[in-house]
Amino acid sequence: MLKFKGSTKMKTFKQGIHPHDFKEKTEHLPIKKSQPPQKVVIPLSQHLGAPCEPLVKAGDEVKLGQKIGDSKSKISAPVHASVSGKVMSVDNAIVIQSDAQNTPDPSMKPHGELNSLSAEKIRSIVREAGIVGMGGAAFPTAFKISPPADKPIDTVIINGCECEPYITADHRMMLEMPDEIVAGAQAIQKAVGARNLIIGIEANKPDAIEVMRQKRVEVVRVKPKYPQGGEKLLIKAVLDREVPSGGLPLDVGVVVSNVATAIAVNTAIRSGLPLIERVLTVTGNGVKQPQNLLVRIGTTFADVISQCEGLTEDAAKVIMGGPMMGVTQDTLDVPVVKATSSILVLTRSEAKEEKVYPCVKCGRCVDHCPMFLVPTRLASYAEHDVNDEFDDWGGMDCIECGSCSYVCPANIPLVHWIKYGKMKMRQSAK
């Protein structure tokens, strides 16, 4: 039974939190293909790094998969039309009215077997397909899989933790598309020249662990704990290596990719289709019919939610992403972007604002910070513009997971202040 190493004992990192996972609404629902939208809104900046320049203008006819925005910057990713039709407007986002034909762009064609592709070729396919990290950070994948010569990579870790509560998209992909994940992971492995390929999955998804193990890849079962899916903490748990402060996973010989990203890489190689759709979880008590949906990039939240029977009467807060790190939206006209792993809708009672008390120095934030920071002190430095101390106490090492705010009995928005402090640091560095 125990064929793979690390299968008995759960690996993990220190500190962190154990929020209720709220995944029961959607974890058993197969991924459903959503109806193609009539209109898509495709932002020119859906990734970390330089925004794209538009390659089309209002009135142009575009085809499905056609590149419509790109940048010459190294850290960037092009954007593509997710429907065929007519460009209505070009601003910070390109709006396309669909002709409902889904006429494919002729430039899209399969790139053949992985064996026949060089590392360089894989990187260029990934670059042209506009693939970014789909776990939430949206870091351009082509750049991630281009390690400098002096940083050899020995291990690719595929991130199947999905530690954010409510979200089940990665879980369903592991159950329903394991071959695509493995093929995409192997392509990434080849691109970076890594010897080892490991998939890290939280133990609360035993079915996904079982399915992935049947595909003969090494699976490391990690303890269900937030934020296990943070790449630094996943590397710590799986390999016991610590990414240095201010460094990247490649500094310890590792590249981490989300399962959805691996699928996108595989799709780009097998069919030539760029990143124009993704799986996301639409959930929360504010949604009438929670689902896991395969959605075209650029579909508006309103469109997506209407396919879930709409919002409930008491829906009050719409979040892009999970409940720990997601961002609230003030309108349903925003589009699904490459990094949208979830649309979470909370009800009025769930979104109730808690009274904020002064810090009572209980130290809970210190006890739970996975980066071993002192959040109460950092928040105070940020609030009072004490930048030197903020830096000295490691403010820039914060991964913004929100564990501190989650445990704070005084309801102080600790992570919010720390993000603010980081922003000020970056501004003053310019």
């Binding site: 009050a316 003030d330 979104a351 009572v360």
Partner: protein, 313 residues
């Protein structure tokens, strides 16, 4: 939805269990067994002192909020704790007006003048108690039972008379002393609840009581005629109420785990030094106040090693 505006807020959008008032009321609940024991052993005077201190503390905070035009913070429960803790650490014979003065000092000087909850450096109840010890020393030295016999505390009996007190009496609580210090059993019940409810960190009482027991034990081994045994050191006096309810005060003690150990061990050393060689029979109050003063420094020098940073700075 019904056309209303969507709520905008910052992440995270879910919260863990626990709130400041919840923790405060938890502490009050945990102090009830000790309060009850005090009333059982010392009778109505004890109840009167408790009521006076709690009411005065709450009213003082309310009045000061009113005067300073600040939000009324009485409902967070922290003022009531200060009053209750002060009552439990003074004599049941204390005239009520003195108890009330102690309570006013605890809240006004010990807490509100520092900026209120979260900003005070010293444990407010101990500030009030320190004021009473300095102002009305005789009333902090006499103790009386229900049957009207007066007696000294077990620590005083030992220190100035060489007289022991049976450990079982200390444990149950039928001995002379402050209202809440008398029953070790009642304090342990409350302390266990606080640890179980994750309101206090077990490390603090472990470090504090452990240090007193260890050092007390060493002294006793060296000279059993001169020094009492380690169990006596632990059960007599204010150590247990201090260890579970005062050294664990969130605001005035370190936020780091290493800092918690340092605080507890440091306070334990001070207690033994005062009890063994000082001019007073008891040293719990001073040990905590002194360590309170060191807390900002402890916090600064016990910062955790940041993930990904090689050496501690």
């Amino acid at each position: 939805m019904s056309g209303t505006k969507l709520i905008i807020s910052h992440a995270p959008h879910i919260k863990g269990f626990g709130s400041v008032p919840g923790m405060m009321y938890g502490v009050i609940l945990a102090l009830l067994p000790a309060s009850l024991a005090g009333v059982i052993f010392f009778g109505l005077p004890a109840l009167m002192v408790i009521a006076t201190c709690v009411v005065t503390a709450v009213v003082t905070e309310w009045l000061m909020c009113l005067l300073m035009k600040k939000e009324n913070t009485v409902m967070d429960g922290s003022a009531a704790i200060t009053g209750l803790l002060l009552a439990l650490t003074i004599s049941p014979l204390m005239p009520l007006y003195m108890a009330a003065i102690g309570s006013v000092v605890a809240i006004a000087i010990g807490k509100v003048l520092f900026g209120g909850l979260g900003y005070n450096i010293f444990n407010p109840a101990l500030v009030g108690r320190g004021f009473l010890v300095a102002s009305f020393p005789t009333f902090m030295k006499t103790w009386k039972f229900l049957d009207a016999t007066t007696t000294a505390t077990p620590l005083t009996l030992w220190k100035f008379g060489g007289e022991g007190t049976p450990l079982i009496k200390l444990f149950i609580g039928n001995v002379g002393g402050c209202i809440g210090e008398t029953s070790a059993l009642a304090l342990l019940i409350g302390g266990a609840f606080l640890i179980f409810a994750k309101i206090i960190d077990w490390r603090m009482p472990a470090a504090y009581v452990g240090t007193v027991a260890a050092l007390g034990g060493i002294l006793w081994l060296i000279d059993p005629a001169k020094y009492p045994g380690p169990l006596f050191q632990v059960l007599a006096g204010g150590l247990l109420i201090g260890a579970f309810f005062m050294a664990t005060d969130l605001v005035t003690t370190p936020v780091t785990r290493l800092g918690t150990w340092i605080f507890g061990i440091g306070a334990g050393i001070i207690v033994i030094v005062i009890r063994a060689w000082g001019g007073l029979p008891e040293g719990v109050m001073f040990s905590i106040l002194l360590m309170n003063a060191l807390t900002p420094l402890i916090n600064r020098y016990t910062r955790p090693k940041i993930f990904g940073k090689g050496k501690k700075k």
